[in-house]
Symmetry: C2
Subunit: 497 residues, 2 copies
């Protein structure tokens, strides 16, 4: 590596993270960037993907070194990051993000004529993005938040994550190259590196910032939510924060290969040192012999698992404290402890049983390979425990054909708790698609009405504007009668191509 | 009138406004209400409209007596209220509010197969609605917020406005009749009457409430926003609060019938005693002879206008204080004062000129028939004044064919300030349609990402949930392969019937 990571404000490198310079450059770039046609903006998003792809080798080397995540995982993340940008480019090229609605004039309506009213979505303005430590590419500098804000037409100022400054810097350079070659203002994208929480707070308080995307801890997210609410002009914060991702194993699911199911659970629990927002931290299991066999097999698998180096010493330290709380809490019993890996930051996986879901220890997310099992007597008896959970990103159900009735009974309760319900799989994979929801009720996120993964994420950075009786030669292109961009439009409420 | 207004909690009348009883009934009703099919829910919304219509005579009598608004206006409001419910019924019957997305499984994808992922919108839960004083029907008990929350599938608890308790009560009885005849749980709709701000605060703090709709003052709205943010689980508040609705008269617009234009302006300014959120409180006018003529004609019209009784003594008192601030502020000149109407609460319309838009007096909304005029030298010089305005519900441009270039120059600035831009009309009429936006940047509303009028308003009370590999016999009807409701769905991102 030759490049020393540094801040990149409006295309130029600088040793200091100058928040005001970056936000002013973003504000100055906004008018031109948001005026890009769907075609231009889609081309730009694809150019960002291509620039990142061109740097794959350097990026993988940097990200593996900084995150301690395996090379295969990081290579996959490059593909996920570029695939996401290209998927958003597809949405933008179709103009679907514009959400155009036309209610034509009715000059002869009585008692009053109706005006011509048209609606489109416009971008909010400059967006601040806080990358996550656990996905140095897909949820970081040019990850989902950045891609969706750029797709919406918002300039982006990224606060680079201090756990992977070199990776972030290389990605930021790639994005800046795409900005330059597209002829866009350099302030369309800036990247700020700096220590401490002050930089982030300053960014969120800056009056030129109009929305915030964040993935990280509950404490960090809530601090940004507070700062945003206390501004003279409050702004939306999309903070993805905390989730223990309950799994419900229904009785029928234990009629098959119980040991295999338990091993798959432990595989998801310990994947990537458990450092996923969607890690299955809490598992509800029927009482009885089949459940006992699952516990025995899961305990054996955890006992055989060894730790791998975590993202940062701080995360490893928090994990050690969290597992200590879980193993010593009232009504908690340790079922198995794996072995620590090499180095000081590779703590052992742990499996605990909780006597009930009521314990506050159960509700606290422990970020890492720590699972809690709770046994239940009946699905009916399980429902109140699920209803009492805090909001979550995901809920998983393992069910066989005979469990359909129980599964249908669970669904309404789970829907009110989570953003994604999945069957007979594990929550740790989050597909980037049009139907994905990576979100959920508070405190899983600060705003349940949206998602941070998938194309619906673009809508987070937009708002509707109505145009009433605007003359044809003044009307924005997206709204013109001749529909020059060939948009799908809702005319008097009905979709028309 | 025989009926004494009182609270209606879960269908039964009670003298006390029991918040907990109403919210618990709403929570209890939620599962059944949200499970209604599109057809059932649409039928119910239409039944609400029919029940209100059946009571038109009593409603008009009560609303005229309580609001002092003219009978024709109130009769129109009944039609607007029922028309709104029926329009939302149409959206719900088509199932458009469900926003269904399907990403089919790709079992053969490499390196990893893709799961089957489907998305729909679900309702948030019980919603608290605070009606507005100035639209005792269309923005109150069964107004836009209630209609859109019910359309989304959310039970509603209305805090009845103390300025029209009898009107609110009659509407609430009509809604409750529709709830009963649809076989829905009585808690689907409750109506609480009580004095003071404590009742509203208690309602917003109640843990069973999941979102809030409000139309009213900035102080009132911000207090609810704060209360909602301080909850253990924060919830969204859609508060429509404050707007002075700038009007820009471009030079070409003064080449025609200047006096007629000025009279139309004063007509909009004084309509309904100026008690509209969209009242045109601030008008930018070119310097020069034509502008002088406009001012003279407007001043004459205001001078000849007389006050009409305002909604409440409190509003009349606030208007008196506001016009006093406007007439005595630095750089402010009174151009004309009309005459007071009969009674103590019918203050005189007032027209003032401000030397510049910088004065804080100019930015403060004065609710009532008070207009401020600012003269400008050039459109270029006008842009910074517009850019410095707070967020607004509307901006109006008066322009002739020769003003197109200037109008195009204004548009990007206006778009960032308002929710609706209208040409050659007046902002006081708000059409209920699919393309309408009645919203705008803070402080016009607390959440610019949506609208409180028009069918997009339904989305405020929903959130997305993804269903991954959910078995066919467990999947909600809206998401099934055979598409029993005939929904338009986004399949792999592309809309398909």
């Amino acid at each position: 590596m030759t490049d020393q990571p540094t801040s990149i404000v409006a295309g130029a490198e600088s040793a200091t993270a100058d928040v005001a310079a970056a936000t002013q450059a973003a504000e100055d770039a906004f008018a031109q960037y948001r005026a890009t046609t769907p075609q231009q903006r889609a081309d730009f998003l694809e150019a960002v993907a291509a620039e990142i792809e061109a740097d794959t080798d350097a990026l993988v080397e940097a990200a593996v070194a900084e995150s301690h995540l395996p090379q295969g995982r990081i290579t996959g993340e490059v593909g996920r990051t570029t695939g996401q940008l290209r998927m958003f480019a597809g949405v933008v090229r179709r103009g679907d993000h514009l959400g155009v609605r036309v209610d034509p004039a009715q000059p002869d309506r009585t008692p009053l004529p109706r005006a011509d009213i048209r609606q489109r979505m416009i971008p909010l303005g400059p967006v601040a993005v806080f990358g996550a430590s656990n996905f140095p590419l897909a949820f970081s500098t040019a990850g989902g938040d950045t891609a969706s804000a750029l797709a919406a037409g918002c300039p982006v100022v990224v606060k680079g994550h201090p756990a992977h400054p070199r990776t972030g810097y290389l990605v930021a350079k790639a994005v800046s190259r795409a900005v330059a070659s597209a002829g866009l203002p350099a302030g369309t994208f800036s990247f700020l590196l700096g220590d401490g929480i002050e930089l982030g707070q300053e960014l969120v308080r800056d009056p030129r910032i109009t929305a915030v995307g964040f993935t990280g801890s509950r404490g960090g997210g809530l601090a940004l939510v507070r700062a945003a609410a206390e501004r003279e002009v409050p702004i939306p914060v999309y903070a993805e924060m905390s989730s223990i991702n309950p799994v419900v194993v229904l009785p029928g699911a234990l009629e098959g290969d119980v040991a295999g199911l338990a091993q798959a659970y432990v595989g998801s629990l310990t994947l990537g040192s458990g450092q996923f927002c969607t890690n299955p931290g809490l598992l509800f299991l029927p009482r009885g012999a089949a459940g006992d066999a699952f516990v025995a097999a899961a305990a054996e698998a955890v006992g055989q698992a060894s730790g791998t180096q975590m993202l940062t010493s701080g995360i490893a330290q928090a994990y050690a404290e969290g597992t200590a709380r879980q193993s010593s809490g009232d009504g908690m019993t340790v079922l198995a402890t794996g072995s620590a890996g090499e180095g000081s930051d590779a703590p052992a996986p742990q499996l605990t049983e909780a006597a009930s879901a009521d314990s506050p220890v159960v509700a606290d997310e422990v970020f890492g390979p720590a699972g809690v099992v709770i046994r239940y007597d009946s699905v009916e008896g399980l429902l109140p425990s699920l209803a009492d959970l805090e909001g979550q990103l995901t809920a998983t159900v393992h069910a066989a054909a005979g469990d359909a009735e129980a599964a249908r009974a669970l669904l309404p309760t789970l829907e009110r708790k989570v953003g994604r319900i999945l069957f007979n799989g594990w929550p740790t994979g989050v597909e980037v698609g049009h139907a994905m929801v990576h979100g959920g009720p508070f405190p899983a996120t600060s705003d349940s009405r949206t998602t941070s993964v998938g194309s619906l994420a673009i809508e987070r950075f937009q708002r509707p504007v109505a145009y009433q009786d605007v003359p044809a030669d003044v009307l924005p292109e997206a709204l013109r009668d001749d529909n020059p961009w060939g948009l799908l439009r809702r005319v008097d409420g009905e979709l028309q191509a």
